[in-house]
């Protein structure tokens, strides 16, 4: 009975078992199916892209932390996740060294320069991708075009898809539709897109097995399942992904184009579910998240239909990332008891 030594600390005395690492691992688990499937669809080269990108991201983190004399935090899995997310936004036929450099850029310029985890202004994976996109535009686009031709050519899956869509072209679905709707602004040119193709013929492959596009765009279904998993384990909230995708769909149909196609195609789903919801680069409170998601939808729509590029998700997210500090300064929840006037008397 007589006094043991007790731990003395201030309240609270219990903690939720959740940790940063556990959160990162949840996201990695949510991405696992689409990652594996991407390698299945695209072949071994996709695996090289994955490995180079992740290695680059982890090396960048390691080098910066070592260099700055800080504890190395690779074990929180956040650099791993950054590399994985980056890889999923890269074309499967990309040179491995571009993926490696993009990975280095992601953690060095995208994250560690700002002070590391929790301090970066922009989504690190997208910073890496943006640098690759503007530095090696030819390779990045070539990666798309060659996909279908090289990746799973002559496999049963590929044949089935080709038959289903009746498109033998390598152009990504978004690029193909860009050519259809707006031939003048397309950088790819009209080659290889069959005349009179319908957006709806892409539904099935986009949903189940899409060989034209980045690693992470192979299946909308797997991305949505990953999103549901993250919602279920409460790692993300519904507001950002649902409002973002919803805004794009609504604006797209206002423009007179097929909203379902523009939801499934391109980077919208992976961006909305896995990138826009990044904690550090999205607003803290619900009201801010709603505003942020609306802005994402608007900018994505503007870029997709009124810029030279068929896709706009990456720059939309990077643009809105830049507004987050302002949103978080001015769009905060009303503190309990601060606006309502007291009943029958002035505040003391």
């Amino acid at each position: 009975m007589e006094g043991g030594r007790f731990i003395v600390s201030t309240s609270p005395h219990i903690r939720d078992p959740i940790t940063t690492r556990r959160i990162m691992c949840h996201v990695i688990v949510a991405l696992a199916p689409v990652t594996v499937y991407a390698v299945v669809i695209h072949g071994i080269h996709a695996f090289y892209v994955l490995v180079s990108s992740i290695a680059g991201a982890m090396l960048g983190e390691l080098a910066m932390q070592r260099g700055r004399g800080l504890p190395v935090t690779l074990d929180d899995c956040s650099a791993l996740l950054t590399g994985l997310l980056l890889a999923l936004t890269l074309p499967p036929q990309l040179h491995w060294w571009i993926a490696l450099v993009a990975g280095l850029v992601a953690t060095v310029l995208g994250k560690q320069i700002f002070g590391g985890l929790g301090h970066n202004l922009f989504n690190p994976a997208l910073v890496g991708r943006a640098v690759a996109f503007v530095s090696w535009a030819g390779y990045m686009n070539a990666g798309y075009v060659k996909t279908a031709a090289i990746g799973i050519a002559n496999t049963a899956t590929h044949k089935a898809i080709v038959k289903a869509v009746d498109v033998a072209s390598g152009a990504s679905p978004l690029a193909a539709m860009k050519i259809v709707y707006d031939p003048a602004s397309s950088p790819i040119g009209p080659g290889g897109v069959p005349h009179g193709i319908q957006a709806s013929s892409y539904y099935k492959p986009l949903f189940l097995a899409n060989p034209w596009g980045c690693l992470g765009e192979v299946s909308a279904l797997l991305l949505i399942l990953g999103g549901i998993y993250l919602l279920a384990v409460r790692v993300i909230g519904w507001r950002i992904p649902v409002i973002y995708v919803g805004t794009v769909a609504v604006l797209t149909s206002f423009t007179g184009r097929d909203p379902l196609f523009y939801t499934l195609a391109g980077g919208l789903l992976i961006g909305a579910i896995f990138m826009a919801t990044d904690y550090t680069t999205s607003p803290l409170a619900d009201k801010g998240k709603i505003l942020y998601a609306l802005g994402l939808g608007l900018v994505t729509w503007l870029l997709r239909f009124w810029s030279n590029n068929p896709e706009g998700v990456m720059f939309a997210i990077l643009f809105m990332n830049g507004l987050v500090p302002i949103i978080d300064r001015y769009i905060l929840p009303r503190t309990y008891g601060t606006v309502k006037k007291p009943r029958g008397g002035e505040t003391s």
Partner: protein, 435 residues
Amino acid sequence: MDAPSTVVLPLRQHLGAPCSPTVGKGDRVLVGTVVGDAEAFVSAPVHSSVSGTVQNVAPYPHPAGGEVLAVIVENDGENEIDPGLSPRDWKKLDEDGIRRAVRSAGMVGLGGAAFPTHVKLSPPRQYPIDTVILNGAECEPFLTSDYRLMLEAAEEIVEGLRIIMKAVGAPRGVVAVEDNKPQALRAMAETIRDPAIELRSLHTRYPQGAEKVLITTVLGREVPSGGLPMHVGVVVNNVGTAQAIARYFRTGMPLVERVVTVTGSVVRDPSNLLIPLGSSFASAVEACGGFSETPAKVIMGGPMMGLAQYTLDVPVVKGTSGILALSSAEAGYEILREPVCIRCGRCVQACPMNLIPNYLAIYGHREKWADLERLHINDCIECGCCTYTCPTRNPIVQLIKAGKVELERRKALVEKRRKDKAGAEQGEGGGDGGR
């Protein structure tokens, strides 16, 4: 449980001015004898919980921290009751009479904060009270003392509510109970006969028992920032306080005992005990069969807001709602490297006051005092939800508490300088007016 051979009665068991001893070494005291009292309005007298001899009046470790002057009484085991005590009919007393009686009974809020009850019962005239809420939403996880009381003393609770309603002139009373206590709800429903009193079942969610949260849940009213419940016409009391008030009027016995939840996985026989105030934590644990293994942490109160103890040799005081002993598995949690906020927003979601806890913690850490005020740091009720939920194990609420203290200190300093300067300027004139 029976009182141990010695009881320690600290002269500060409430928020407000400490009492001065009214007895000295060697004096004989009886159950209910006043041993300490104060002139101040915000204070409450302390009574002996046993009959016996005053062994000493000296500082003694207090469960709320530090040492407090205490009257130490050697129990003679006779339980002789002070003959001056007698039942009183509250129906014959006016509001002021009830307030005086409640004060003389040493009544304080038994939920844990120990705010003197008569002060709550004295709202100024410009704030008419229309509703008294009895808080039966257990303040914290693990604690079940309110629950037991509602099962066993429903009638006294309701009577206590009616006494409080009379004292503050409120036409309406609400007993608020969380919906995970169906038996308590039933017991209260069977007892409430008065149409002016309503029973409300609330969704179980910590910190439902926090005063402001409770008022908003029950009445939809928000207590203004920096304000008190009376500013929205409400007085909130714990069910335990109401029961103690009713018992006082029925028996004349002031507050000398209370129900305490003694629990935790290492307590052999976890129970709710009626414990004479001043009994040591050690004796309370003993009465529950002792510990099955040495606890890693002993807490007065609950796991969210309770106070960790360094010894069991502290007395049960009026604010002791529970004694919680945690094993090392429960008390230990992985302390992560330097916590870095990842802006996940869990604390923002969890905060019942709609604050941005992570910013408050960061700004406090970086000494950005103006930002702390802009983000309403003083509206924090210190419930600990932010800290519980933080995946980086950032001690958010601790940083907020520290920020509040430092902000107050600085504001006082600025005020003092301003005054000094104003004084100096009267002589000289001019001055730059800067801080």
